[in-house]
């Protein structure tokens, strides 16, 4: 079947039950999207499907057909750039493994809501675990990115 990932259409030949994550990582070699839990519990595998954040480890291939899929490698708009800049500025990443998923969730939040409240941030970001415990800085970075976009 054909998949539109980061604006590029790729043909993939895999079993229909293959989660999107493994197509992205193993078949297409886009390793910025991470494997953490395999059960949509940690958010390390977050990508956008038609702009909405989804957990690709549990997202069936069939549901991805005909949709626009964006991975961390495909972010290229001002909101994404503001988030990335803020992440560096606020010293967010430690081990960094979960951060691409965090960024995908944060970008989706800021696109939907330019000035998110703390409750909005809790709502949008609580699906992403960070074992290094970078949450305080993620919150600050989202606010910094938000301010820089106005």
């Amino acid at each position: 079947m054909e998949l539109n990932i980061n604006g590029k259409v790729s043909k993939v030949e895999v079993d229909a039950d293959t989660p999107l994550l493994w197509i992205i990582r193993d078949e297409l070699g886009l390793t910025g999207t991470k494997f953490g839990c395999g059960k949509a519990l940690c958010g390390a595998c977050t990508v956008h499907v038609d702009g909405s954040p989804v957990r690709s480890c549990s997202f069936p291939l069939s549901a991805a057909a005909g949709k626009k899929i964006t991975t961390i490698e495909g972010l290229n708009d001002p909101t994404s750039q503001a988030v990335i800049n803020a992440w560096v500025e606020k010293h967010v990443p430690q081990c960094g493994y979960c951060q691409t998923g965090q960024v995908m969730s944060a970008v989706a939040l800021l696109r939907a809501k330019k000035k998110p409240s703390d409750a909005d941030i809790d709502g949008a970001m609580s699906g992403n675990i960070c074992r290094c415990g970078t949450y305080q800085r993620i919150r600050e970075a989202i606010k910094l990115a938000s301010n820089s976009l106005v």
């Binding site: 059960k39 560096v88 990443p93 081990c95 493994y97 699906g127 992403n128 675990i129 290094c132 415990g133």
Partner: protein, 717 residues
């Protein structure tokens, strides 16, 4: 890794010569070497060329001999060199070291990251390397210009002379590398630091944010297949029958290989490898069928009554206890815990029958290399180790017996083709190597309003038994089991600490802050119970008992000032808790602001005061404390490894939760200003957070927390 550190530091220097010529680490002889070698000379300074590479375009590559697993070594250690090298910080890039004895830990004959020793052990070495290279650059310039060395100066990546002009480091690099190493490179006075003590941006921040950083799981090599292994659902399980027909019939399955009591499935992607592995029909012989958490708790409790080995004794505690008017009898129980790093265990192996290359986030790359060579029967020079970024570790990737490395290499030995072994989250969590369960029995005698005696018994499983570091167990006492109780800085005049090492079939390992993870909880919880028994303020009691420990006093005073402790008054649904603990030569104190939400405490705010010597990068340092708070709170609130009928039940983040964004308290970190050399920081923030919250929890609920995690039924008799 902390426990054996002091012993290893003593032991190691003299043994360095043994390892200086080859890459081979004599695993079998190591415990003896570590135990017997006397404390003698310092490790000689290696050549700066092995650590600093300057290119013609002035870019500088610094080789970091520690694993970057989140703690920021690729930034902070580069700062040490950059400071003395007098270079342009923006030209710096860091890479992980290959395996070579020049990259050994300065205090032990292995290349390793652990025990929160990276900055402490590299503080002098890395600065001296930077200074030596700076002097070599200056010598090269002086030689080229034919002028005295003393007439040249180096700053910001340029060597200057009043009449000859300027040469960049890049222009001088080739000649500098040929210069003799200066005998005594001159180090800066700390008042002249311009890079150390500054919050330089992490060198890895951008690549980690945009997904370009390469972790072990991101390695892709030509013809690589993905491997998953059936590890056995029961501790110590043996295979009695194997039916792999369904697996072999799957499209994309490349091979199924039984090796020892494991079965590996190789496939063209990770998903098929997993599906194939899960489709194997294996009957396992459950030789630990009766093993359970409840059984182990019972076993540990029984050991509380055994006399145990004496870890420390002050005064005559038995007599003191007899003379007390009131005795507190407290028991604290803490569970087995998994490291649960975000990046599941994995390793990529390329073995073609003649030589081998491996890729992973190695905390002990030299030992992993030696184990690989041994399994494959290769000369160690034919094993190349690549250390990638690690997606967290918290001690897990410093496997004491290279467990997951062995699994992958044994599989590669059979199939002789490039493979990436992937652990699922469940494989990772059930593979063992846990923070051991520990039960403390604390008896405190009070006479009137005074402390009479403190009798402390610990039952804990050994981490070091049967490992390279076994020699650190002395007279039956394992420092990792008693650290934080034995040698406590509290001025306890009548004090005894005894310990029994219990054995279970589960494997154990150092987990971020090792023994302090349980000892601090017992000590600091008991200290608050003592304060209540003595009818005194918890801060006041600690200040009285720590008055002879200047670093602890500095932390308490800073904490008092930052939190406004004396003005904090518990309200109906808001209370404050305090704890302080020293580990890895650093002292961390917390005041927490807590309310109850249902049955769980909600932590709103944490004030942290930290004494860790010279802070190399303040923002990176703060992140270690913030992260330690999350790490410790997750364990307090949620985490335990549960065993039933020989099986590890706990398997993923649903039954081993990690705190999330909506639970994150506001954290304010303050450092005690200090020019002492840096001490540990990756781990010392973990131990005091759980008791600091437990002490507030008591104020709110009048219930003492005696077992973790909160609400666990594992310890009810």
């Amino acid at each position: 890794m902390q426990t054996s550190r002091r012993d290893i530091i003593k032991a190691s220097a003299a043994t360095l010569g043994v390892f200086a010529v080859g890459f081979y680490i004599p695993l079998d002889g190591m415990p003896k070497l570590l135990a017997q070698a006397p404390e003698t000379k310092q490790m000689p300074l290696p050549s700066p060329n092995a650590f600093i590479s300057i290119a013609a375009d002035d870019s500088i590559t610094i080789t970091i001999n520690k694993l970057e697993m989140g703690q920021g070594v690729n930034t902070s250690m580069a700062q040490l060199i950059a400071e003395e090298l007098a270079c342009d910080w923006t030209k710096i890039r860091s890479v992980s070291a290959p395996v070579n004895p020049v990259y050994n830990h300065t205090a032990m004959p292995v290349q390793m990251t652990g025990g929160s020793t990276s900055l402490a052990s590299s503080w002098t070495q890395y600065r001296t390397l930077g200074a030596a290279m700076r002097e070599m650059l200056v010598s090269a310039a002086a030689q080229r210009w034919g002028v005295p060395v003393a007439s040249c100066t180096a700053a910001n990546g340029v060597v200057s002379h009043p009449s000859k002009g300027k040469l960049t480091y890049g222009a001088l690099a080739a000649e500098a590398a040929q210069q003799a190493m200066p005998a005594e490179p001159k180090l800066k006075d700390s008042k002249d630091f311009t890079i150390i003590g500054k919050s330089k941006k992490r060198v890895d921040a951008l690549e980690k944010t945009v997904g370009k950083a390469q972790f072990g799981l991101d390695i892709r090599i030509p013809n690589m297949v993905y491997a998953m292994v059936a590890h056995g659902p029961v501790v110590g399980a043996k295979i009695t029958s194997l039916d792999d027909k369904a697996t072999r019939a799957m499209k994309g399955v490349v091979d199924v290989v039984r090796f020892g009591e494991k079965v590996g499935v190789l496939a063209t992607n990770t998903h098929i490898a997993r599906k194939g592995r899960d489709a194997l029909k294996i009957t396992w012989n459950p030789d630990q069928a009766d093993l359970s958490t409840a059984g182990m708790v019972k076993q540990f409790r029984k050991e509380l009554d055994s006399p145990g080995a004496l870890a420390e004794k002050r005064g005559e505690v038995d007599q003191a206890m007899k003379g007390s008017s009131k005795t507190l009898e407290l028991e604290y129980a803490l569970p087995f815990l998994a490291h649960a790093s975000m990046e599941p265990l994995n390793i990529t192996v390329n073995y073609d029958g003649k030589s081998c290359e491996i890729w992973s986030g190695h905390q002990m790359p030299g030992i992993d290399a030696t184990v690989t060579a041994k399994i494959l029967g290769l000369d160690p020079s034919l094993v190349k180790v690549n250390t990638t970024y690690a997606g967290g570790s918290f001690g897990r990737r410093a496997s004491k017996d290279s467990d997951y490395v062995r699994v992958a290499v044994e599989l590669a030995k059979q199939v002789k083709r490039p493979l990436q072994l992937v652990y699922t989250r469940e494989d990772d969590m059930r593979a063992g190597y846990y923070r051991p369960m520990a039960i403390h029995s604390v008896k405190i005698g009070i006479k009137g309003k005074e402390l009479a005696g403190w009798d402390h018994k610990i039952v804990c499983q050994s981490i070091f038994k049967g490992t390279l570091f076994e020699s650190s167990i002395k007279n039956g006492v394992e420092e990792a089991a008693v650290e934080g109780v034995a040698k406590t800085h509290y001025d306890l005049k009548q004090f005894r600490c005894t310990q029994t090492l219990a054995q279970t079939p589960l494997t154990t390992l150092w987990w971020r802050s090792v023994g302090h993870t349980h000892t601090a909880f017992a000590m600091e919880s008991a200290m608050d119970e003592l304060a209540e028994g003595m009818q005194t303020d918890p801060m006041k009691l600690r200040k009285t008992l720590l008055k002879n420990s200047p670093r602890h006093m500095a932390v308490l005073e800073l904490l008092e000032k930052e939190s406004g402790w004396s003005r904090l008054k518990a309200k109906a649904n808001r209370a404050y808790g305090l704890a302080i603990h020293e580990s890895f030569n650093s002292v961390v104190g917390y005041v927490t602001e807590v309310s109850m939400e249902g049955k769980l405490p909600k932590v709103h705010k944490v004030w942290a005061a930290v004494h860790c010597g010279q802070v190399v990068n303040p923002e990176v340092a703060k992140t270690q404390i913030e992260g330690s708070i999350v790490f410790g709170l997750s364990a307090l609130l949620y985490q335990e490894i549960i065993v039933e009928r020989g099986q590890i039940k706990t398997g993923n983040y649903d039954d081993f939760p990690v705190m999330r964004m909506n639970e994150m308290p506001e954290v304010k970190v303050a450092f005690v200003p200090s020019k002492d050399p840096p001490s540990g920081l990756g781990e010392p923030g973990v131990p005091p957070i759980a008791p600091a919250v437990a002490n507030a929890y008591y104020v709110l609920t009048k219930q003492r927390l005696r077992s973790l995690p909160i609400g666990s039924k594992s310890y009810t008799v």
